[in-house]
């Protein structure tokens, strides 16, 4: 609440006064309209940014819900610290490395824009308020990608690892990938064809899941996950309602994640993106639910939720490139992929929330699906449409298969680069400070061992030990009228 409103009113006053001078005034109106159009875009991006930041709560509750009670509090602290560290890392270094500006084209990484500040010259353009808005939107994406990393690591990782990796991830790993696709880097022009990843099936989700895999390989499974026979045993998370909260927040947040990736409101194109997003999410739920039911005769709640996420991850690359009919197909297959992936991976790797499948495999599927379904109407300049349009339309196979190849390359390149960087980083963390808590702390739970107190104290501390007994509603309620004592 400031005095800035005056400035605005004054500006409008000037506009009106200028009406006396048509030609001058006309240029003013056109310029004003341009200014307002930019503001409208930024309002849209601001809305999207808020939604994407809210997704942090989605990851928080997905992870907490899938953990046991003794590890519920650490998930809260993790999100706080992680989001905070990555914010500072992005502001100081990461945004510069990601280098979204025009001038960065063809570079391996961005070279300017560190310690982001107002008026800063980034390759010839001065930072203004709308630059800040876009930079914040980029941070929200980076934070989502980072949040995905920890899905495989629940219930046994050392807390310090969160902060340490967040620095490297926010300053380097994610920015390198983002630059390569969205910042005019190597993947934005592969022999003339750009990788098409509208909102980041590969850039954000596969990146996060790949780092998650690297960490898991160094960390190992939770105690008790595999029986003496080597078979996986279920370690049920403690709260499906919290899982539900997480999934719905992610789902809703994804409207910002995908819709906001239009950056502009031009032609209300975000409407198409959002409808595609919804259709794929719905189909993802349906696909995953059907498959898990067929496999186990039980409609697993968490798998249903994973299906929603897989559908969303799957459509993330294509949400701005495919027609509506393709979205449910992409989502349905993503729903199958996540169930199949969880069941297959579970045999060897302990991924408590299914991040490898929901973000990794579905991210790969989504990136490739663009090469299958991208509509000629919507593709980027220079890109080829999806293979489908060679089969059922008039696109040349050389163009569509070429694009499919580019999409495949994006997947492979992202996986290899992120895996190497992440593995090295986690290996260093492991060597320097250790990656896994001692067995006694794993048994006791991370809450009490890392944070000094349980996330649900009353589930663990006997009521008798509370400063005030909690259990004696002596005067509460109306006494029952029982037969007179004898």
């Amino acid at each position: 609440m400031s005095g800035r409103k005056k400035g605005f009113a004054a500006a409008l006053g000037v506009t009106l006064a200028a009406l006396a001078l048509p030609s001058v005034a006309f240029a003013d109106v056109a310029a004003d309209l341009e200014a307002k159009a930019l503001e409208l875009d930024m309002v849209w991006v601001a809305l999207a940014t808020v939604l994407v930041f809210f997704m942090q709560a989605g990851f928080m509750f997905l992870e907490i819900g899938f953990s046991r009670q003794k590890n519920a509090g650490t998930g809260v602290a993790k999100i706080f610290i992680n989001l905070s560290v990555v914010t500072i890392a992005w502001w100081a270094v990461g945004y510069g490395i990601a280098g979204f500006g025009e001038g960065n084209i063809s570079n391996f990484v961005g070279t300017d824009g560190f310690f982001f500040h107002y008026g800063q010259d980034i390759l010839g353009t001065a930072v203004t308020a709308d630059t800040a808005m876009l930079m914040l939107f980029g941070l929200a994406f980076c934070a989502v990608s980072l949040a995905i990393v920890w899905g495989t690591t629940l219930e046994r990782i050392k807390f310090g690892a969160y902060a340490a990796f967040a620095v490297v991830f926010g300053a380097l790993i994610y920015p390198i990938v983002a630059h390569s696709v969205w910042g005019g880097g190597l993947l934005s022009d592969v022999g003339g064809k750009p990788v098409m990843d509208f909102a980041g099936s590969s850039v954000v989700h596969l990146t996060g899941a790949t780092a998650a895999l690297a960490c898991l390989l160094l960390l190992g499974a939770r105690r008790g996950k595999y029986g003496a026979d080597g078979k996986p045993r279920a370690i049920p998370g403690h709260s499906m309602p919290l899982v539900g909260l997480g999934v719905i927040i992610l789902w809703v947040g994804w409207f910002g994640f995908n819709g906001g990736s239009t950056f502009v409101t031009e032609d209300a194109f975000f409407g198409e993106v959002m409808l595609n997003t919804m259709l794929a999410a719905a189909a993802g739920v349906i696909g995953a639910s059907i498959l898990i039911y067929l496999k186990t005769k039980a409609l697993d709640v968490g798998m249903s939720g994973n299906g929603a996420i897989a559908g969303l991850v799957g459509i993330t690359a294509g949400c701005g490139f495919v027609e509506y009919w393709a979205a449910p197909i992409i989502g349905l297959i993503a729903g199958f992929v996540v169930v199949w992936g969880v069941l297959a991976i579970e045999k060897y790797l302990d991924d408590p929330i299914g991040a490898l499948s929901a973000h990794g495999l579905a991210g790969i599927w989504g990136t490739l699906a663009v090469g299958i379904f991208a509509s000629p109407r919507l593709i980027l300049d220079g890109a080829g449409a999806g293979i489908w349009y060679s089969i059922f339309g008039d696109q040349s196979f050389s163009s569509t298969i070429g694009q499919f190849g580019v999409q495949t390359l994006a997947v492979v390149a992202t996986f290899v680069v992120v895996f190497i960087l992440s593995y090295v980083t986690f290996a260093i963390i492991k060597a320097v400070m250790g990656l896994r808590v001692p067995e006694s702390e794993e048994i006791a739970g991370l809450d009490i061992s890392s944070h000094g107190m349980y996330g649900y104290p009353e589930a663990f501390i006997p009521q008798e030990e509370y400063p005030v007994g909690n259990y004696q509603p002596m005067m509460a309620g109306t006494p029952v009228a029982t037969p007179e004592d004898r």
Partner: protein, 117 residues
């Protein structure tokens, strides 16, 4: 005095409590327990894996009464907790040497249940 300890199904408790109250035995205690016996455990599903639960929730009822009331209590418990299915539970009778009402410090048979004061 005897303590009657019975492991029963949850749904049997209320009718037992109500009938005991009516018959002049308002004083009973109950604890959450879990047990195994002839009744088998169950296998539950979660994300495609399974977890095997070998023990089932039961209630442990404890009633202390004078020796002569024992049979009446046992009978009442039996009547309400028998379904004929496995998992109905067991009753055990244990000797009690002394009983004291904390509120008054009184001792003996009379304090086990509430008598006229």
């Amino acid at each position: 005095m005897k303590k009657i300890e019975a492991f029963i199904r949850h749904e049997a408790f209320e009718p037992i409590r109500a009938e005991l109250l009516e018959k002049g035995f308002p004083s009973v205690s109950v604890l959450e327990a879990k047990g195994s016996g002839r009744q088998k455990g169950i296998v539950e599903q979660y994300r495609g894996s399974t977890v095997q639960v070998n023990i089932r929730p039961k209630l442990k009822l404890e009633v202390v009464v004078a020796d002569e009331d024992k049979d009446l209590i046992v009978e009442t418990i039996l009547r309400h907790s028998r379904t004929g299915e496995i998992g109905d539970g067991k009753i055990f009778v244990i000797p009690v040497e002394e009983a004291i009402r904390i509120r008054t410090g009184e001792r003996g048979d009379e304090v086990t249940q509430t008598h006229a004061e």
